[in-house]
């Protein structure tokens, strides 16, 4: 049995735990020629440079703002979708609708961005039609100031369906007799929604908010790498792309690792803090 466990354990140790040791580079002036051991220690110099780096400031601001906008839009979207699906009584239609909603979750961001370009992009279908009719074209995929909203809508198109599954599961576990009792007391549909449904998913909403706070500094890499050229780094650079371009491409290994390290620590603090906060509100935390 331990032999069965061995490959998996080795995998996690080699690809998840040992690399954590590599964070030591944040305190060194790493050079690929010298290797990790031989590169000289520089203490907190990389962290000091972080504080005054303008590109990092932009990346940080973008990360926080984009995450906020995405959540502000996507959270209600997935809840609304869950409520909508839950209210569909015709099973076949409901299943088809769900299938259609869950599909984009399985597509790569490359595919998603390409699809968006072909439909709402500068030379996409919609703009082609508008130009033919003599109306001007609109530019939502190349517009830097609109980018955060574009990112939110793309995220919703891709993930809101999938995220609604968790909420749907919570909705289906609400005790039906609560609805019956409310209806008996004369509550109409809207009142039942406010009094039974929304409180019923309170727990899962809190849980999702905790997880969101914990990942406030992470946005994923691909959605932003793909569009960085189209809208420019001022709008699209996020911490993850910054780390990549500055570290791997730019060779500033120490600084980029320091960014990653701080990101991880802050993320941990945030998630534990949010967890504690939720418990103080009387909700179950994530742990």
């Amino acid at each position: 049995m331990y032999l069965l466990m061995l490959p998996g354990v080795v995998y996690f140790v080699v690809f998840h735990y040992i690399p954590m040791l590599g964070n030591v580079i944040a305190f060194k002036d790493y050079s690929p020629f010298l290797g990790i051991q031989a590169s000289p220690w520089v203490g907190l110099e990389n962290f000091r440079n972080l504080l005054t780096d303008p590109d990092l400031g932009i990346a940080l601001r973008n990360t926080l703002v984009i995450n906020l906008v995405i959540t502000l839009f996507a959270f209600p979207a997935s809840i609304s979708l869950a409520l909508l699906i839950n209210s569909m009584l015709h099973e076949p239609v409901k299943r088809v609708f769900q299938s259609v909603l869950y599909l984009p979750h399985f597509l790569s961001w490359v595919i998603v961005i390409a699809l968006w370009q072909q439909t709402v992009g500068g030379n996409g279908v919609v703009n082609q039609l508008l130009r033919e009719q003599g109306w001007g074209a609109f530019n939502i995929m190349g517009n830097p100031s609109f980018f955060k909203f574009l990112a939110a809508f793309q995220y919703i198109w891709k993930e809101a369906g999938w995220e609604s599954i968790v909420i749907l599961a919570a909705l289906s576990s609400i005790d039906v007799t609560l609805y019956e009792a409310a209806a008996l007391d004369g509550a109409n549909a809207r009142q039942r929604l406010l009094a039974v449904t929304l409180p019923g998913i309170r727990g899962i909403v809190f849980l999702l908010l905790i997880l969101w706070i914990g990942t406030a500094l992470s946005t994923g890499f691909e959605q932003f790498y793909l569009q960085r050229n189209a809208v420019g780094p001022r709008a699209a650079e996020v911490l993850d792309t910054f780390t990549f371009f500055r570290g791997v491409r730019g060779g500033d290994w120490g600084l980029a690792t320091a960014v990653g390290l701080i990101k991880g620590i802050i993320g941990a603090v945030l998630i534990f803090g949010a967890n504690k906060l939720a418990k103080r509100f009387g909700e179950e935390g994530v742990f």
């Binding site: 049995m1 331990y2 032999l3 069965l4 466990m5 490959p7 998996g8 354990v9 996690f12 080699v14 690809f15 998840h16 735990y17 954590m20 590599g22 964070n23 580079i25 979708l81 909508l84 009584l89 015709h90 409901k94 299943r95 088809v96 769900q98 299938s99 259609v100 909603l101 869950y102 599909l103 399985f106 597509l107 790569s108 961001w109 490359v110 595919i111 961005i113 390409a114 699809l115 370009q117 072909q118 439909t119 039609l129 599954i165 749907l168 609805y179 019956e180 209806a183 549909a189 914990g214 890499f221 691909e222 993850d240 780390t243 990549f244 990653g260 990101k263 991880g264 941990a268 998630i271």
Partner: protein, 306 residues
């Protein structure tokens, strides 16, 4: 269960056999609005695919005519023929297919063995290992450390660098482990008493019972490998080794012109780009019907809750 027909019933009311008795029937305008909303959302999800596939099958005449091409009047496979003539796209498809086939098998084997080992209470230390795995779910080593690990292992610019780091997904592991834990211990005990060792029990007894869940995670892994993009950006230097998503980005998303092979003069570039996009997407679309039934029928939600 059919509601009794009464005078003034709406003609489609026989569909509403699932309406619980305490729920009032909403107004016709409300139901129409809801149906409209559902239709619009569904169209928004589906339209991009329909459009892209249509254009990819269009010929010169269709594209010159412009306008909204939903069904090309002169459908042709020219774009696909051009693109698959050899060169960048064909190579990338080969790479992706190979990676997906090999990677999925490796991932499923790795996940299943560890999940089984962690699912039996008799294994000392399984709790510790489980904690270790769940910990990785929350805390990643970071981009640079991961990159350097691959570098130190001498795996930069190799296919292994695309497969090895993702061998076991903590999420999939938990799902499979939960499933295995639901297999009654008696069956396993009696197999042991018949002299089978752990591997035999896994192979002969547990796996045949787990076909559905194994299919699901195989599909999860397969799709994830097919979609590999960032890791390729990070680790690969040779354009020869590019998986399909890299090619898709280069020639469709970023719009760099393709200079490969002989491009027929009458093959419009848009149809070629769409063909590449369709090729990158179709395998996922093909396996999706097998995948989606697990979610729409709530089979997986139980596992997720756990």
């Amino acid at each position: 269960m059919r509601l009794a027909t009464r005078a003034g019933q709406r003609p489609w009311s026989h569909h509403n056999d699932a309406r619980p008795p305490w729920m009032e029937r909403p107004s016709r305008s409300f139901l129409t609005a809801k149906a409209l909303l559902i239709t619009i959302i569904a169209l928004l999800m589906v339209f991009p695919f329909v459009y892209v596939i249509s254009v990819s099958l269009s010929s010169y005449q269709d594209v010159v005519g412009r306008g909204l091409i939903l069904f090309p009047a002169h459908p042709t496979l020219d774009a696909y023929r051009t693109v698959l003539q050899g060169g960048v796209v064909t190579r990338a498809v080969g790479v992706s297919v190979g990676l997906t086939a090999v990677g999925t098998v490796i991932n499923v084997v790795m996940t299943t063995t560890l999940a089984y080992a962690l699912s039996r209470r008799s294994v000392i230390g399984s709790k510790v290992v489980l904690m270790m795995v769940l910990f990785t779910f929350l805390f990643q080593p970071g981009l640079i450390p991961r990159f350097l690990m691959i570098k130190e292992l001498g795996l930069l610019n190799s296919y292994a660098s695309l497969i090895l780091p993702g061998m076991i997904s903590a999420f999939n592991l938990v799902v499979v482990r939960n499933f295995f834990m639901n297999i009654p211990q008696d069956i396993i005990d009696s197999a042991h008493m018949d002299g089978a060792n752990d591997l035999r029990v896994l192979w002969d007894i547990v796996l045949p019972l787990s076909k559905a869940i194994l299919a699901v995670i195989a599909l999860f892994y397969g799709v994830a490998i097919w979609n590999i993009f960032f890791d390729a950006v990070l680790y690969l230097n040779d354009t020869d080794k590019w998986p399909i998503q890299m090619v898709l980005n280069q020639y469709v998303v970023q719009g760099n012109p393709m200079t490969q092979g002989q491009v027929k003069v009458t093959t419009p570039p848009e149809t070629i780009r769409m063909a590449v996009l369709v090729i990158a997407t179709v395998p996922i679309l093909l396996v999706y019907p097998f995948l989606q039934r697990f979610f729409t029928r709530g089979v997986l939600t139980g596992a997720i809750k756990g």
